[in-house]
């Protein structure tokens, strides 16, 4: 069934415990993108055959399009939820992440993290007269 590889990426992230970032699954993402490419090509072929007068191909096109949307949703959710974990770690560990987490981040995630750090630092610097570190005192005072 289509969408199985994409779901495996999601399950892998779902199994990872809080505060742990699993290694970036490059190969899994590549396989899902490969499935999407072949689904799209098959749909292109069916649409051309329909234009040429062949009947009854619509259901296949519909099914493959639903699978394409599903694959896309799983890939984006995989990336998005990894970023959420990384962002939570920024608030927990500070602007320098532990080495074991950093090794599991992709190059693009490191770039994202650098930009996020900069945005957050710029924002905190503008608070109050001399700035305010929002990541301190996360628990309300007594």
């Amino acid at each position: 069934m289509f969408g199985e590889k994409a779901l495996e990426l999601i399950r892998e992230l779902h199994r990872s415990t809080e505060g742990v970032l699993p290694p970036f699954n490059d190969e899994g993402i590549r396989q899902v993108l490969e499935e999407m490419r072949s689904l799209y090509e098959q749909n292109q072929a069916d649409v051309s055959a329909t234009v040429a007068g062949e009947q009854g191909l619509f259901s296949g096109v519909q099914l493959r399009h639903a699978s394409l949307e599903r694959d896309k949703r799983c890939l984006l959710a995989y990336l998005y939820n990894r970023l959420q974990k990384i962002r939570n770690m920024r608030w927990e560990f500070g602007s320098v992440l532990p080495a074991d987490i950093k090794t599991n981040m992709s190059e693009q995630e490191v770039q994202w993290f650098t930009k996020y750090n900069k945005c957050l630092a710029n924002y905190m610097r503008r608070l109050g007269d001399s700035g305010l570190d929002l990541t301190q005192d996360m628990q309300p005072p007594k």
Partner: protein, 189 residues
């Protein structure tokens, strides 16, 4: 408002959040479906045939995310039936004594997936909606009691039969209890 008066509407629960991992996993649960129009070049979907075409009348188990795309008001390429664990006989068990049912084994997204079934035009969805509501309400008290009274102990035996939504409720109760205990012992600074 008594239970009967609660008007259930076609709602998309907040867990329809596009990026929500729980929602993605819940929507891969299988739904008994029947093919209504020939599906050409999709024979691989039906393991019991070598044919490349799936003929009308063929019964398949499709994941929710696919069935909900092929069975809409506008286009019914397949028709769906309700999964066994939402049918009348199971609803009776839930009504008889909801607390003994192991919703984790049956689910684990029993309520979330059940809510999604309400998207379909099916004669039983009104009863399913009531059954989900009644089941949750019946089990809620015990979840809250046990989560409020289990401090610093292993809670596996208390949560092993809970579905994912109920485990979230249990976790929230535990956090409230933990916060209160820490405040009482002056640990909250």
């Amino acid at each position: 408002m008594s239970l009967v008066e609660i008007p259930y509407t076609r709602y998309s629960s907040s867990s329809d959040n596009y990026y929500c991992i729980d929602d993605i996993i819940a929507t891969c649960e299988k739904i008994p479906s029947k093919v209504e129009q020939p599906l050409f070049r999709l024979g691989f979907l039906d393991p019991s045939t070598d044919n490349t075409t799936i003929q009308p009348g063929t019964k398949l188990e499709l994941p929710f995310w696919l069935a909900s795309s092929l069975c809409t008001r506008r286009r019914r390429l397949v028709s769906v039936d309700m999964p066994k664990t939402y049918k009348d006989s199971f609803r009776e068990i839930l009504k008889a004594d909801a607390n003994v049912v192991d919703l984790h084994k049956i689910g684990p997204y029993y309520y979330s997936f059940g809510s999604k079934l309400l998207h379909f035009d099916h004669p039983e969805i009104g009863d399913i909606a009531d059954s989900l509501l009644q089941g949750f309400i019946s089990r809620f008290r015990r979840i809250m009691d046990s989560s409020q009274n289990a401090y610093n102990e292993d809670t596996t035996h208390l949560t092993c039969k809970l579905d994912e939504s109920e485990r979230c409720v249990f976790k929230a109760g535990q956090k409230g209890l933990d916060d209160f205990q820490r405040w009482q012992t002056g640990q909250t600074t």
